[in-house]
Symmetry: C2
Subunit: 359 residues, 2 copies
DNA sequence: CTGAAAGCGCTTACAG
DNA sequence: CTGAAAGCGCTTACAG
């Protein structure tokens, strides 16, 4: 009945591989679980073979209730949890998607994650999350993601080159790439929507628009430049204030100052929705009516913008579309339908002007 | 040089197991990749042994540049990606945490996820997310999570019993359990903070508070009852309105109506922060000053509440603390430091009154 | 109803 | 610098 027990971690050395019928074995009761129980341990404890354990654990038929009960009891006693690696190796399981976000606390990230999660779930994929801002060691987080997933999509930002390296061999689809595209990518382009916005401002009679931009280096962002250009081409002489980061707080501070300095200000184009919320707050505190006296527009199209009064007009990104394109490309690369190397695949999603109450 | 090739998926039958030196093999060039390349295929293509492939792929030393180059080229040509299962089986990798959230689009979820992610990353754990609202088939999502992770924490709600079943053998820590606790749990208790809030309202001279509650069945929620009780014990005769769900929209609609019906209303206790944002919006639209005429308080302590003007007073949950307790319990169960069965381990985190501008 | 054999894809000693 | 052997923990046919 007893069968060769596996060597415990402690005594495991270049041990002679036990052969069938290698004699009686001491199924020692370890005082403290030195290592996680395996199917082997359960089999030994219950006095059955390994495949009988499999049958019991997986609720397969072809096993007597008595045996099943005995096995399950032994498994519980040993705190047996089947190894996902052992199982995965034989059963396969190519269904793990990695998603890289920059900071889950920024409302943009969860909205993206929600879109990806929903789509992935519909296709039977699980998603593993790496937040390069919240993870103390972002390099490790990225590398671990590559090791545990079958395909990765997400924001790689300025460290794209290095992180793609760390991701190893998994196919990766970069979202809104900031630099040169090394792999497949989904671009997010505000260009046309910025033009629509500028047209809209003209049509409602705005005279003195201000751009409340944000960038790390104090210089106008790419997006800010796009806005300035569109305004200038329509004859405006727009002012610009560049916040050190895209927070509501900075947006509010910039707006308070702008309100004092540019008395005729009648529109604010914010770097994004979160910044724009700060703009709204500053206007409210200054007793400035929105949209009556000042029109306010954000960028991103977060659902956040519908929670405030007035609701926030914005250049919205269809994140469901972004997720769809990214998954499409990623799964295409995986299946071989799309080239996995050589010319990089790129898709583009455009912002669109979404007028709510604030503009 | 050539070694026994593994059987391709197509011809794989109860095939005779190739023995060492079983003769020449047709390393056929499959026209379309029928199955994912393995280390074996790369070894064959490069004319080396499997462990030489390992050395090349993992950047280990003890391999000539020439050989390494050849192996890497073969790997790239075959689109070889090492199996995480094969690797995990030998290298271990007990570092995957599953997090169950109910809806990532509700701002509470990402704040919780951020806290968990940050803590998990600090301990070298990856986190896999399951959203039981966004996943079409939540049962499948939960089950898959159990199969791919080493421990699970999260919101199981009313289906806790069933889902714990589906999660299989992984240890699970339930967050804010709604019913009977079947496994370990971290409770989140607003009780004391509700008392503090009621005291505060008394001290600032509130006379006619209204509770804007939310629940699926139209009856006051547990939390709503707690609020009513605390108010009544202080001599108030509070009104209550129960929204069909905890959205800003419903919060606004309920408030608009309450403002008409209860002219002397001077405080609103909302079911949560999102609902409270709707209350703020309704007040603003009605021209009612907050906190001058009406004080508004939410529950949860979301950072969202700092983005609006006036900023939202709230009963805040320390989600970092929740995450810490949950991980502590989960990892304790895993290591055996805490009992994995029998008496369930429970921790409790309390809300606390967080006064910002709105109350 | 139960077990002996083979194999999933990888890495880790150990020899040369 | 390179390879033959063993084994990680599981399941899937195949026999009895």
């Amino acid at each position: 009945m007893a069968r060769p027990a596996r060597l415990t971690a402690v005594s495991a050395q270049s041990g002679t591989c036990a052969e069938p019928g290698a004699g009686p074995v001491s199924v020692s009761e370890p005082t403290a679980a030195p290592t996680r129980a395996t199917i082997h341990d359960v089999a030994a404890a219950a006095g059955v073979s390994r495949q009988t354990v499999t049958r019991a654990m997986n609720g397969m038929y072809g096993i007597s209730v008595a045996t099943k009960g005995r096995v399950l009891a032994a498994a519980a006693a040993l705190d047996y949890r089947p190894s996902r690696f052992g199982r995965g190796l034989v059963m396969g399981g190519e269904h793990q998607l990695g998603l890289v976000v920059s900071d889950l606390r920024n409302p943009y990230s969860p909205e993206l994650a929600a879109a990806v999660l929903r789509l992935a779930a519909a296709k039977g994929w699980n998603v593993m999350l790496a937040d390069v801002e919240l993870s103390g060691d972002s390099d490790r987080a990225v590398q671990a993601l590559g090791a545990q997933t079958d395909v990765v999509i997400g924001y790689l930002g300025s460290r794209a080159a290095e992180w793609i390296q760390r991701l190893g061999t998994v196919p990766v689809v970069e979202l809104d790439p900031s630099g040169e595209v090394l792999r497949a990518a989904v671009r997010i382009d505000p260009g046309p929507a910025v033009e629509d916005l500028a047209d809209h401002l003209v049509s409602v009679g705005v005279r003195h628009p201000v751009v409340v931009d944000a960038s790390g280096d104090g210089r106008p962002s790419q997006r800010g430049v796009l806005m300035l250009d569109a305004l200038r081409r329509r004859g405006y002489l727009p002012e610009i204030a560049v916040a050190p980061s895209a927070t509501a707080e900075h947006g509010a501070a910039m707006t308070t100052r702008a309100l004092e300095r540019f008395r005729r200000l009648d529109a604010v184009l914010a770097f994004n929705d979160v910044t724009a919320l700060g703009v709204l707050a500053a206007c409210r505190r200054a007793g400035v009516d929105v949209p009556g006296a000042v029109r306010v527009v954000g960028v991103d199209g977060l659902s956040l913008g519908t929670l405030v009064a007035p609701t926030l007009s914005t250049l919205a990104v269809d994140l469901d579309d972004v997720a769809r394109q990214a998954l499409d490309v990623a799964l295409g690369m995986l299946s071989g339908a799309l080239p996995r190397s050589g010319p990089t695949v790129q898709r583009t999603v455009h912002h669109r002007l979404l007028l709510r109450e604030s503009a």
